[in-house]
């Protein structure tokens, strides 16, 4: 039974295989889509509110708790924001270590998403578990890559989640040389696994839907921007400084949402792997460009389902880039740095790319030395607007040839393709599809 001329409503409560709680509602009457809504039902934890009163060095450590899977990204962005507020200049060594920490989390998050959350859809499985029986080599490879990435994070950060080594100005404990060497060896040895990952990704049949939108990411003149850069729009092909982020996100509330939405030059914009890929393709390492070619992924790409492929490309990039960075850092001995600083009141803004897109943190410190105002704008809340618009555009296109079940699955897949991290959405939001 296909959806043409049908009157039905689909309600997917607690969407699975995404971080956090969401809900999709679709209502059609006589084959006409009346309403498509994406609701995020996650309870708010009011981070921006309760970090007030905290000491500068406590903030990156606490806000990493916004999200487990993006904890490094939140910590890095907060560290940069607080450092900006306090006029702290981290050393070259620190920045390099932080970049490695950042990329370690890109690898682990992308591998998790591609293998655990997305691939089962394409293989027609409810989860990765049946794959452990039917395709044990796939699951074992996924676990191997994920473990490598996690260990890499732990070597630099002290542990896999909510790392404690990084702080303002530098690292409380430097990674052991021996561990860095071992990580380098393991990353090099992981190249065949990556090639295999690309090969699997090649076989994934992507739904054939396109909708051109505005792509927003960081951009850096010298590198594929992840840790640093300015805000770039595919619409204007220009950058604006990070300090102007509020002009970019333009948060607004909508009637049916408990979250603020974002828009910049048009009704919505896209952040995440595909946006970075589209905007910064030239800065990818050759191996990553090759992977993109193998996957038939060309910039610009307007198919949001292919965000998953862009993640594969970025995994290749981050692995090879990490190999370069490790080679570089192993050339000299790491030096213990003095982490002391003098406090000054002020405001600072930081931005990093995290696996799911561009992230902004903004803190103000008053004379008392404690945080008096905080703001964080998370990729997923920037994307929600765009996801809902994709759904609205795709549902009518899909309806004629698709059963309700299939439609439901395609919508879930679309949502999962964005790899949304709803726990991150500290800005609450509700999008309902009710007819």
């Amino acid at each position: 039974m296909d959806g043409a001329n049908q009157t039905f409503s689909i309600d997917v409560n607690h969407i699975t295989r995404v971080e956090g709680h969401g809900r999709i509602k679709i209502n059609t009457r006589d084959g006409v889509v009346e309403e498509v809504r994406l609701c995020i039902t996650e309870a708010n934890r009011f981070f921006e509110n309760f970090v007030k009163g905290m000491q500068p060095e406590e903030i990156p450590w606490i806000v990493s708790r916004i999200c487990g899977i993006c904890c490094v990204g939140h910590q890095m962005t907060a560290t940069k924001a607080v450092e900006a507020a306090l006029a702290i200049e981290p050393s070259e060594q620190t920045v390099l270590l932080r970049k490695m920490l950042t990329e370690s989390q890109f690898i682990q998050s992308h591998v998790l998403h591609v293998y655990f959350l997305a691939v089962p859809d394409f293989m027609g499985a409810m989860s990765v578990l049946p794959l452990a029986k039917s395709h044990p080599e796939v699951v074992k490879r996924a676990l191997r890559l994920k473990k490598l990435a996690n260990d890499y994070t732990a070597v630099l950060g002290g542990r896999m989640l909510h790392p404690m080594s990084n702080t303002l100005k530098g690292f409380r404990k430097l990674p052991e040389r021996h561990d860095l060497e071992q990580t380098l060896d393991r990353l090099r040895a992981a190249v065949p696994d990556l090639e295999e990952t690309v090969r699997i990704a090649q076989t994934l049949k992507m739904p054939d839907y396109e909708r051109e939108t505005e792509y927003v990411s960081l951009k850096h003149p010298d590198e594929y921007a992840l840790y640093d850069g300015e805000i770039f729009s595919s619409d204007t092909q220009t950058t604006v400084p990070v300090d102007h982020y509020l002009d970019v996100t333009n948060e607004f509330t909508v009637e049916h949402s408990t979250s603020k939405w974002s828009k910049w030059h048009r009704e919505s914009y896209f952040v995440g792997a595909l946006a970075r890929f589209n905007n910064n393709f030239d800065m990818l390492l050759p191996q990553a460009k090759q992977a993109a070619a193998d996957l038939g992924l060309r910039a610009p790409c307007y198919n949001p389902y292919k965000n998953t492929l862009a993640q594969v490309v970025e995994t290749v990039h981050c692995t090879h880039n990490s190999i370069h960075m490790l080679e570089q850092i192993l050339q000299y001995d790491l030096t213990e740095e003095d982490l002391g600083f003098t406090f000054r009141p002020g405001r600072g803004i930081g931005s990093c790319e995290v696996p799911r897109g561009i992230l902004f943190h903004d803190y103000t410190f008053d004379q008392s030395g404690a945080c008096s105002k905080a703001n964080a704008i998370i990729p997923t809340s920037q994307n929600i607007n765009n996801i809902e618009r994709d759904m609205r555009a795709f549902v009518p296109q899909m309806l004629p040839g698709m059963s309700q079940e299939e439609l439901k699955l395609k919508m879930e897949m679309l949502l999962r393709a964005y790899d949304p991290c709803i726990s991150c959405a500290v800005h609450m939001l509700e999008v309902e599809f009710v007819g």
Partner: protein, 258 residues
């Protein structure tokens, strides 16, 4: 028969579930021992009954209460997974700000005014109060920490598999600090929550150059008065001590009183 296990989450970062997914070396072994029937983060299946439910996250809203009670009725054994579920974690600090203020801060003055007069306004925000699970339902075991410690998870699973309960000794973080031969951070003129905090994390924060901020919650026998006196000796103001206690221990009675 393999025990059926399920994972649920409430307000949290979902890092504790991720910590378990991160046990790559043994994940497949674990899956041989148990039957995973629900794990929203990694699978789409759902189940009506389970032997062990791992519940992550703190309880904030009325609808959360309904859902956790439902989980409780379906499971034989309920485990609070991680600091949010065990003691409210960092978000418990928001209990010290009136809900209306929370909304105003996050959504603007208008929201504050409406939330106070209009009970139907944005019902999803019906934020009551951040509470650990055991304020709402009976909890059989606690896997403490932010994030949870895989070894403790394994101890729990293997204990239950053998028909007995896990045992987590109520020892301070200092014990593990000694076993790791760390120089006490007080020796370095910094301060630490370790003496009053429930160990089991292997003092991982101190091992890595930081101090213990107390994510695993206060020990039942914690000598808080002595700890406050000790912090004062290091010239920490009472306000700073209170703020420190409210980092991870916002729900502990002490954080309200200090």
């Amino acid at each position: 028969m393999k025990p059926k296990i399920a994972f649920f989450d409430f307000a949290s970062c979902e890092g504790c579930q991720l910590s378990i997914l991160n046990c790559e070396d043994i994940l497949l072994d674990i899956l041989n021992l148990v039957e995973l029937v629900e794990f929203r983060e990694a699978m789409s299946e759902k189940a009506p009954r389970y032997d062990i439910a791992f519940v992550e996250g703190s309880i904030h809203r009325d609808e959360d209460i309904g859902r956790i009670r439902d989980v409780r009725t379906r499971t034989t054994y309920l485990v609070a997974l991680g600091a949010c579920a065990c003691n409210g974690n960092v978000q418990a600090r928001s209990n010290f700000v009136a809900p209306a203020v929370n909304y105003a801060e996050t959504y603007g003055e208008e929201a504050r005014n409406r939330v106070q007069v209009d009970p139907d306004f944005w019902p999803l925000w019906a934020h009551t109060r951040v509470r650990p699970l055991d304020r709402v339902v009976h909890v059989d075991a606690y896997l403490r920490g932010c994030p949870t410690v895989p070894n403790e998870f394994l101890h729990l699973v293997t204990s239950l598999l053998q028909g007995t309960e896990p045992h987590f000794p109520p020892n301070a973080v200092c014990v593990e600090c000694k076993k790791n031969e760390n120089e006490c951070v007080f020796e370095q003129n910094r301060t630490c929550m370790g003496p009053v905090i429930w160990g089991g994390c292997n003092a991982v924060c101190v091992n890595n150059g930081y101090v213990c901020d107390g994510c695993r919650g206060c020990l039942p026998h914690a000598n808080i008065e002595a700890h406050v006196r000790l912090m004062r000796q290091y010239r920490i103001s009472d306000e700073a001590i209170r703020s420190r206690y409210r980092l991870f221990l916002g729900f502990e009675p002490i954080a309200r009183g200090v």
